[in-house]
């Protein structure tokens, strides 16, 4: 078959940002997977709750303090997170470096409080099904915080090397920002579920 050149792609940018980025879509797809996982875990919680005669089963409702503190930290972290995204879009390396450091700290803080959240549930995972499901919900979300924190730390380190000044890195920062937003967004229904449904 003969070939006919009808288009020159040479003028296209060498890397796509935002919706033109492949990793952006990949991150989105993984968020969809994990979002489905969270939704199903919440469905399991509601299912077990609907079967139980009393909820929580043989336990007082969890203490509000650590969980609410985590919620506030996570919500507060959204401000620098969104700013970071903007700086990454402007490809301002200095500000992005500062933002990554701030986000590393804001990723570690909720983890520290989370350590106190598990005992605040006032039930053990092997006490009953209620304990199992709240531990799972909390554990699932903690895994996500840890995953994103590791990603943030590695990326922060990367931003201070010669690899930092690259459109690709700024795109990675944006994806990381998006993922952190997801981690925060998924926490809200979980928080409502674990702390407030148990008080109804």
């Amino acid at each position: 078959m003969r070939e006919k050149i009808v288009l020159d792609l040479g003028k296209l940018p060498l890397h796509g940002m935002g919706t033109a980025s492949i990793t952006w879509w990949g991150t989105l797809a993984f968020m969809l997977i994990e979002g489905t996982g969270f939704a199903l875990a919440i469905a399991v919680y509601l299912y077990l709750m609907s079967l139980a005669t009393a909820w929580p089963i043989n336990a007082p409702p969890p203490d509000l303090l650590p969980g609410t503190l985590v919620t506030l930290i996570l919500l507060a972290s959204l401000v620098p997170n969104i700013l970071l995204s903007r700086w990454a879009e402007q490809q301002d390396l200095r500000k992005v470096r500062i933002g990554m450091v701030i986000m590393s700290i804001l990723g570690t803080l909720p983890l520290i409080v989370r350590v106190f959240e598990f005992p605040a549930l006032k039930v053990s995972w092997d006490s009953n099904a209620y304990g199992s499901v709240v531990w799972t919900l909390l554990g699932l979300h903690t895994t996500h915080i840890i995953t994103d924190l590791v990603d943030t730390l590695v990326l922060a380190a990367l931003m201070f090397t010669r690899h930092g000044r690259s459109a690709r890195r700024f795109g990675d920062v944006q994806d990381n920002v998006m993922y952190w937003n997801f981690v925060v967004a998924t926490w809200l229904p979980l928080y409502g579920c674990i702390y407030w449904l148990a008080r109804l």
Binding site: L9, L12, P13, A20, I22
Partner: protein, 635 residues
């Protein structure tokens, strides 16, 4: 660095230079390490397909053993313990290690070619997903060899698979094998979605996407939405068994049926995860053999999407006799029956295509015809079991065994075998023997129907599933003996297919670029394609680019040759947005897979594996993503 783009009047010598440069950039180094580090979707896809067929053969051996055991009443070839392991292995192996992976494997190979790009999105993830899949399969089969094979059914209902009755580590091995295959299936689904969304050739708008690619898109979304349910289920099962959680313990607020809800919320879409790619293959393959465009493109695509959506609304029909409220059951009857409508639309469209076309009776078309014959039976007896009252008699009997083999073998394996014959030239550069192909088709077709049709009757005569033997005074032995004999024919058909494939791969006739005069893009490149798929990215102007403009292929120019580069296009209209680097070969996905494997297998035995085992995984992932300073890292 950048090689000057060839002028529009590029001559052959420039073309050779270009091909040479691209081959150097995209090459997979020869040798052991090269093979381990490759990220070429074609090499990985071939590996994936090959491995899946190995698992098919192994699963077939198990099926043969079961048929020998059941040929006579009170046979003593297998004891109950082995038999239970064997039927569990057969089901788990065929569903998780063959059917789903093989469909994704074919897509890994074909989708990038069909949408006209140079590699799949996230090629390293692709390599990783293969290794994880392989590890999962190895885990399951090694366990079986050590008498540790799961013996709780591929559905692993609690409490039989739970901590009290699922003795030893057998059920854990089942559950963890699921984790392996889910990771790999989810990863491939993400790759496919992004490849189809963002890497289509310029001009391939939504209404110019080949039906197979549409089918894989819908399938990938099904995987993404359904598989988390089984991940949740298998994880909670392992937690129940290992650290004493109570998800499935009724005495402590858990529920036995919760397992079934979670399992079938995944398990039913699973059927469509297997069937939709096959339907897509048929819609795509039918064109060159009916020698006309497939009738009703919009209808076919909409039917795929409708099936995908409905797939999530009918899991309860697996639980009609579990004692759920009858009104709810009736809703699920309605939704289960409704899925016959999109299936019907596709069948009628294929019939119309054949009616109006000029059939060329080559092996792939034979498999398509065989598929229509058997799949319609599978669909109709699916309608039967969808009815609550009907199901109370046939649930968990050989009727259901007949039903799902009609759907899975008739509806998915037939098209798959056709597809292997059809795409063999593109896979290997050689064609399969037509004579052997036709023989194998007839053996498989006759053997299959003679094996599985009588099972309908056995089921109605009261023969339950999953029994390792039956007593001589039950009126089943005649048909069982017949079924076992027919299975010999079916086995012979599959053997012939394997012989044909292996022989043809080495000695088959060298295939031209487009041996079937097919209309889709994968046939625009050589057979087998070069490492970079297309020297210049094709531009698509219609649904069937190779038919609508038979003389010239419009192409785009201007991509760099010193780094692996492909184009990102817009989601709906496929307009070029950017040139994007595609990652280099890397050994890190293998290390990551090994680290993950260690963590997952260890976590069967100790919960601490998740803590300590994740550290090497994290290091492997950092190694994977850390920039190496290659041209692909820059921008």
């Amino acid at each position: 660095m950048t090689r000057p783009a060839p002028a529009p009047d590029a001559r052959d010598s420039d073309r050779t230079l270009l091909a040479g440069a691209l081959a150097e950039t995209w090459k997979t180094p020869s040798g052991f390490w090269g093979a381990l580090a490759t990220v070429d979707h074609k090499i990985i896809g071939r590996r994936y397909i090959f491995t899946a067929f190995v698992f098919l053969a192994l699963g077939g051996v198990l099926a043969a053993l079961m048929r020998i055991q059941l040929a006579q009443p009170e046979a003593r070839l297998l004891g109950p313990d082995r038999y239970n392991q064997i039927f569990t292995m057969h089901g788990a192996n065929m569903m998780f290690l063959f059917a789903v992976p093989v469909m994704e494997a074919v897509a890994v190979y074909l989708v990038p070619l069909m949408v006209g790009t140079r590699n799949i999105a996230f090629p390293r993830l692709n390599a990783f997903s293969y290794w994880i899949y392989l590890a999962g399969g190895a885990l399951l089969w090694t366990a079986f060899a050590l008498d540790m094979g799961p013996d709780v059914g591929w559905f692993a209902y609690v409490p039989l698979s739970g901590p009290q009755y699922g003795t030893g580590k057998r059920a854990d091995i089942w559950a963890q094998m699921i984790t392996f295959t889910e990771i790999s299936a989810l990863a491939v689904a993400v790759e496919l979605v992004v490849t189809i969304f963002k890497q289509r050739a310029p001009g391939m708008t939504l209404d110019r996407i080949p039906v197979f690619v549409w089918a894989m898109l819908v399938t990938s979304f099904l995987v993404i939405m359904a598989m988390p349910a089984i991940v949740l289920a298998s994880t909670s099962l392992i937690l129940d068994r290992l650290v004493g959680t109570h998800f499935y313990n009724p005495a402590e607020g858990g529920d036995v049926l919760l397992w079934q809800h979670l399992f079938w919320f995944f398990g039913h879409p699973e059927v469509y995860i297997i069937f939709l790619p096959a339907a897509g293959m048929v819609s795509t393959m039918i064109e060159p053999f009916a020698r006309r465009p497939a009738f009703g493109y919009l209808g076919l695509v909409m039917a795929l999407i409708a099936t995908g959506i409905l797939a999530f609304g009918l899991w309860v029909h697996h639980m009609f006799v579990a004692g759920l409220p009858r009104l709810g059951d009736s809703f699920f009857t309605a939704s289960s029956m409704a899925i016959a409508i999109p299936a019907g639309i596709q069948v009628f469209c294929w019939l119309a295509t054949l009616w109006d076309g000029t059939p060329v009776f080559k092996t792939p078309l034979l498999f398509i015809v065989g598929f229509i014959v058997t799949f319609v039976i599978g669909g109709l007896n699916g309608v039967m079991v969808a009815s609550v009252p009907f199901d109370t008699q046939v649930h968990d009997t050989y009727f259901v065994v007949a039903h799902f083999h009609y759907v899975l073998i008739g509806g998915a394996v037939f098209p798959l075998l056709g597809a292997i014959h059809y795409w063999f030239p593109k896979l290997t550069g050689r064609t399969m023997s037509e004579t052997l192909g036709q023989w194998s088709f007839w053996l498989v077709f006759v053997g299959f129907n003679a094996t599985f049709f009588p099972m309908h009757i056995l089921g109605l005569e009261g023969m339950p599933r999953r029994i390792y033997t039956y007593q001589p005074d039950l009126p089943w032995h005649g048909l069982n003996l017949f079924v076992s004999f027919s299975a010999v024919i079916l086995t012979a058909g599959f053997l012939l297919f394997f012989v044909n494939a292996i022989r043809s791969a080495r000695f088959g006739e060298i295939a031209p670029d487009n041996p079937w005069d097919a209309p889709t893009l994968e046939w625009a490149t050589t057979s087998p394609p070069p490492s970079y798929n297309f020297a210049m990215i094709p531009i698509v102007g219609s649904l069937r680019p190779l038919w609508d403009d038979r003389d010239t292929l419009p192409i785009a120019d201007g991509l760099r040759t010193d780094r692996r580069e492909l184009i990102v296009t817009t989601l709906a209209t496929a307009e070029p947005q950017a040139r994007e680097a595609s990652p280099q070969n890397s050994i890190w996905p293998l290390w990551a897979a090994i680290a993950t494997t260690i963590m997952l297998i260890w976590s069967i035995f100790s919960p601490w594996a998740v803590v300590w085992g994740s550290i090497p995984v994290a290091f492997a992932l950092i190694g994977w993503f850390w920039p190496k300073g290659t041209p692909e890292d820059g921008s």
